[in-house]
């Protein structure tokens, strides 16, 4: 009772930063948006290095993708989007200001409002905006003990969409579920490959029992969100929040938050309009174009999966929480439409279980829908038992090997008429005399059955084999 009461007193708001990883270029220059696995400071130009005299030019494709996110979250799109400068000195910020957006002082971000629906909760979105990512600071180990800081500008200027929630979340778990839902939406929109390191990051604002708000920065993964928030809530409950505004840094190496700064007042970023970029008019036509191109989103897909395949809500929920899982499910059903429910259950329990055990993302699953479908089909037809089927699947999940052969070897009985027919063909061709005998001699029929059984490694179903041979003999005889 007390614990629940306390959790009601926790208020969490998230600022999620999502890289638009599928863009070709950065937000304001023509450097590649793909900065991964490149020699440090090679994916740069005068603009993203903030060299004196360089000027930003807006990547309009980024506007479209950010609009898609805003529309998917049901936000209200501004008629005019104005970029603002957020001024602060930091070594990762080449201009010592960030080109961002703002919702005060006459500012107009891309969109305001919107929401994400969780199972038992609606989380309101405050604003959605487009901004440039700073460079990356590399510490040796932990921030507190690193003897130096290196700066890699390859990431500098990559397009980010910032999604700011209202402080509607009350538990670390809810925060994780929120992020999972958001990730599924972004994946379905095809704007962010959330598996790339740093592609989805968040800062969290936490206050406990109406105390001072503490901001935790540098949360790099979903698991860390829950960990960082739990740590911070416990810390605040035990020690209380410092007076004023504290900013803390999530040190994922040590698993703790450390204080970066405490300010009496809110940090003054001296926001003002970025005169190098004229206000961007978001036309009705553009909104309609983006709206029309929106794909099916997780909520709609969940409903459809329930309707189309009779899946229970919870199963459909889990499937649609990862685009890769839902895609895998539907691709498999296409291969073998015989038992969608069984497929869904196996994916949700066994395959997902496997992925979680090894901390793998569904998109990295090696098992192919074709093989998964073949196994489920073999089980449904009694060719192999469930245990064998699941064993095969888990093996292929790791190796990606083709399962057709293996199903055959693992099968206890072959009940597939087409497969048995192939053996019968072979036996008939190689034993012409015995076939002739069998037309008149029942014993010779048994001999033929024996040969087919032998060729199939003893797995052909004897009854089915017999009836195939008899009907074949009838044809030969007539």
């Amino acid at each position: 009772m007390l614990k629940e009461q306390e959790e009601l007193d926790v208020k969490i708001g998230l600022e999620v930063h999502c890289h638009l990883t599928n863009l070709k270029t950065k937000l304001f220059c023509r450097c590649s948006a793909d900065y991964y696995n490149k020699e440090p400071n090679t994916n740069i130009c005068p603009v993203c290095m903030g060299l004196p005299g360089s000027l930003p030019v807006l990547n309009e494709e980024a506007v479209k993708q950010a609009l898609a996110i805003a529309l998917a979250l049901g936000a209200k799109i501004s008629e005019k989007m104005i970029f603002y400068r957020k001024n602060y000195f930091y070594p990762d910020l080449p201009k010592n200001f960030q080109i961002s957006q703002y919702d005060k002082a006459g500012g107009q971000p891309l969109a305001v409002g919107g929401q994400i629906r969780l199972q038992d909760k609606v989380v309101r979105i405050r604003r959605i905006q487009l901004e440039e990512d700073p460079a990356k600071i590399i510490y040796e180990g932990s921030i507190s003990t690193s003897p130096y800081a290196l700066i890699d500008y390859n990431r500098s200027g990559v397009a980010l969409v910032e999604i700011v929630t209202e402080p509607d979340l009350t538990t670390p778990k809810q925060a994780r579920l929120f992020l999972q839902k958001l990730r599924a939406i972004l994946e379905h929109l095809g704007v962010c490959n959330c598996n790339l390191e740093g592609a989805l990051r968040c800062d969290a604002n936490i206050s406990v029992r109406g105390g001072y708000r503490v901001e935790v920065k540098n949360i790099g993964s979903f698991k860390d969100v829950e960990k960082a928030l739990s740590f911070e809530i416990t810390r605040q409950k035990m020690l209380g929040a410092k007076k004023g505004m504290e900013t803390r840094h999530w040190d994922d190496v040590r698993g703790v938050t450390v204080s970066l700064r405490v300010k009496e007042e809110e940090m003054d970023y001296r926001y003002f309009p970025e005169a190098d970029l004229p206000p961007y008019i978001i036309t009705k036509e553009l909104i309609e174009e983006v709206q029309a191109s929106l794909p099916e989103l997780p909520d709609a897909r969940r409903e459809r999966l329930m309707r189309q395949y009779n899946l229970p809500p919870q199963t459909a929920d889990i499937l649609t929480s990862h685009k890769a899982l839902a895609d895998f499910f539907e691709a498999s059903v296409k291969e073998y439409p015989g038992s969608p429910l069984k497929m869904a259950n196996w994916i949700v329990s066994d395959i997902l279980g496997y992925l979680n055990r090894y901390d793998l993302d569904p998109s990295s699953l090696k098992l192919k829908p074709k093989d998964f479908a073949a196994v489920v089909k073999a089980v449904e037809e009694g060719l192999i038992n469930e245990q064998t089927g699941k064993m095969l699947i888990l093996k292929a999940a790791a190796t990606g090997e083709s399962l057709e052969e293996r199903i055959f070897t693992a099968a206890s009985k072959i009940k597939d008429e087409s497969i048995i027919s192939r053996f019968v063909d072979k036996v008939f061709k190689e034993n012409e005399k015995a076939v002739k005998d069998a037309l008149t001699n029942e014993k010779a029929v048994n001999y033929l059955i024996g040969l087919v059984m032998k060729a199939s490694g003893g797995k052909a179903d004897p009854h089915l084999t017999r009836s195939i041979i008899l009907s074949r003999l009838k044809k030969v005889g007539s």
Binding site: L51, P52, G53, K95, D268, R270, A275, D276
Partner: protein
């Protein structure tokens, strides 16, 4: 040497025609310019950097191309000086500041690329008030530029180096930048022609920003035709500058007889010297003699232009100059610093001069929470009021005219200790920066008088109209 001295470096058109005709090689033109610079610049200090090697190499290449009969551009073989706030690949670009000493840009500003494309040859980088913040070029970390007509007087600023280089005949053409009058002021003080183009007419890509919503790169020349020649070369849309204007009108309708010129009486307000008024009216009379109608009007918002300008400029400057932190280029302090705040603060304390610090501090204050609305937003409101008043006048008149500067060039050191007195001399030049209108300064003094400039302001993208009227003034004065 004696033959070099005969080359007229005050007429770019004739020079380029001679080079094209083979009467003069580009190398000879460049050598004439370099020798004139060597001869005079110890006294004048118009240049921060001279680049004879690059210039002569470029001239040799050009001569080779001419020999082969290749197509050459409109500024073929013309030595040009570029204000040191404009990025030049491979040539040190200091902004007149210790902060950028040693900074060699890896890229050319769009205007510089256009100059090269047109066959112009950059001979050096000219002196400027630090980061273009000043009206006399006294705030340069490399010493003040002296006025060629009287070495004890200021050359104006902030493009004082460019104005003096042209006035002294070191180069026929120079580029300046104009944020609040920084091309027109040295043009007026040095007795040359200087244009601040329509905001968006010339690419700012590569111009190291002081106040990015106000400034334009502009040409300076000894005569109106040369000024126009350089303007036509550097103007036009640039995809690298989002504020450059895509559909620039090709040619505005020329002024006809009976065209009306508005002369706001406020342009002749308190502080305008008698000598200035006299010369300016001489220029206006020349226009009247050519059939133009001169009418006095009132520009009531002018009083608010100066404070609005300084608030906007300082606010933008405080942000634009934030990038100079001693990490990536320019000033670098040897290590021993454990802490980022201490490091960049020390760099900025050592790298920036007093006027730059003053404007950064004021600009930071202006943008701070609680003051933003009182200062910045209010200044922007005034800006739009001034803009609509200008547009209203320019809907009834073809041009607006008045003195460029309220004074003739004063003595070096005379105003440098009093920032407010210094800021006051920009009173007539700042309005076109706030409104974005094009404005030209054309000399209206006579031999023996201290230089005075007449400022003409036109509707957006009517630069050709300015050249036309300025040329009438120029010719009228010769009579």
């Amino acid at each position: 040497m004696s033959s070099l001295a005969k080359i007229d470096l005050k007429n770019a058109r004739r020079l380029t025609e001679m080079v094209k005709a083979g009467e003069l090689s580009a190398v000879e033109a460049v050598e004439a310019s370099l020798s004139r610079i060597r001869e005079l610049d110890d006294k004048i200090n118009a240049f921060i950097t001279i680049c004879p090697e690059q210039a002569l190499t470029a001239a040799e290449e050009l001569d080779l191309r001419l020999k082969k009969g290749e197509q050459v551009g409109s500024l073929c073989g013309v030595p040009v000086a570029v204000k040191d706030v404009i990025s030049t690949a491979g040539i040190e670009t200091t902004c007149g500041s210790k902060m950028l000493k040693g900074y060699i840009p890896p890229y050319d500003a769009t205007v510089v690329a256009k100059l090269k494309e047109a066959g112009a040859i950059i001979v050096g980088k000219t002196n400027t008030d630090e980061f273009a913040m000043g009206s006399t070029t006294e705030f340069s970390a490399f010493g003040p530029t002296k006025n060629p007509c009287d070495l004890s007087r200021v050359a104006g600023g902030s493009s004082g180096g460019s104005g003096a280089a042209v006035a002294a005949g070191m180069v026929p053409l120079a580029l300046g930048s104009d944020t609040g009058g920084s091309v027109r002021c040295p043009a007026a003080f040095c007795g040359v022609v200087g244009l601040k183009p329509t905001y968006g007419a010339v690419s700012r890509y590569g111009l190291i920003s002081y106040a990015n919503s106000l400034e334009q790169i502009g040409p300076l020349a000894s005569n109106v035709d040369d000024c126009a020649l350089l303007y036509r070369c550097i103007s036009g849309w640039d995809p690298m500058d989002s504020t450059s204007y895509r559909d620039q009108p090709k040619e505005a309708a020329p002024l006809r007889e009976g065209a009306k010129i508005a002369v706001p009486k406020e342009f002749f307000g308190e502080g305008v010297e008698e000598a200035v008024s006299k010369c300016v009216w001489r220029g206006l009379d020349a226009l009247r003699d050519s059939g133009f109608v001169i009418e006095e009007v009132s520009l009531r918002s002018l009083n608010y232009a100066l404070p609005a300008y300084y608030i906007v400029a300082m606010a933008e400057a405080s942000s634009n100059l934030a990038r100079f932190d001693g990490i990536r280029y320019g000033l670098h302090l040897k290590s021993g610093f454990r802490d980022w705040n201490t490091y960049f603060s020390r760099c900025r304390a050592e790298g920036f001069g007093p006027e730059v610090k003053r404007r950064i501090l004021l600009g930071t204050f202006i943008l701070s929470a609680g003051y933003y609305g009182v200062y910045y937003l209010k200044a922007q409101k005034i800006r739009s009021i001034i803009k609509s008043e200008f547009q209203q006048i320019l809907s009834q008149y073809d041009l607006i005219a008045g003195p460029t500067m309220p004074t003739t060039p004063f003595k070096i050191g005379e105003r440098v200790e009093d920032p407010l007195l210094m800021y006051l001399i920009d009173v007539n030049t700042v309005p076109p920066n706030l409104t974005g209108h094009p404005a030209i300064s054309v000399p209206v003094h006579r031999e023996g008088e201290l230089p005075v400039g007449l400022q003409l302001i036109a509707p957006y993208f009517c630069e050709e109209r300015l050249f036309q009227a300025a040329k009438i003034v120029e010719e009228g004065l010769r009579r």
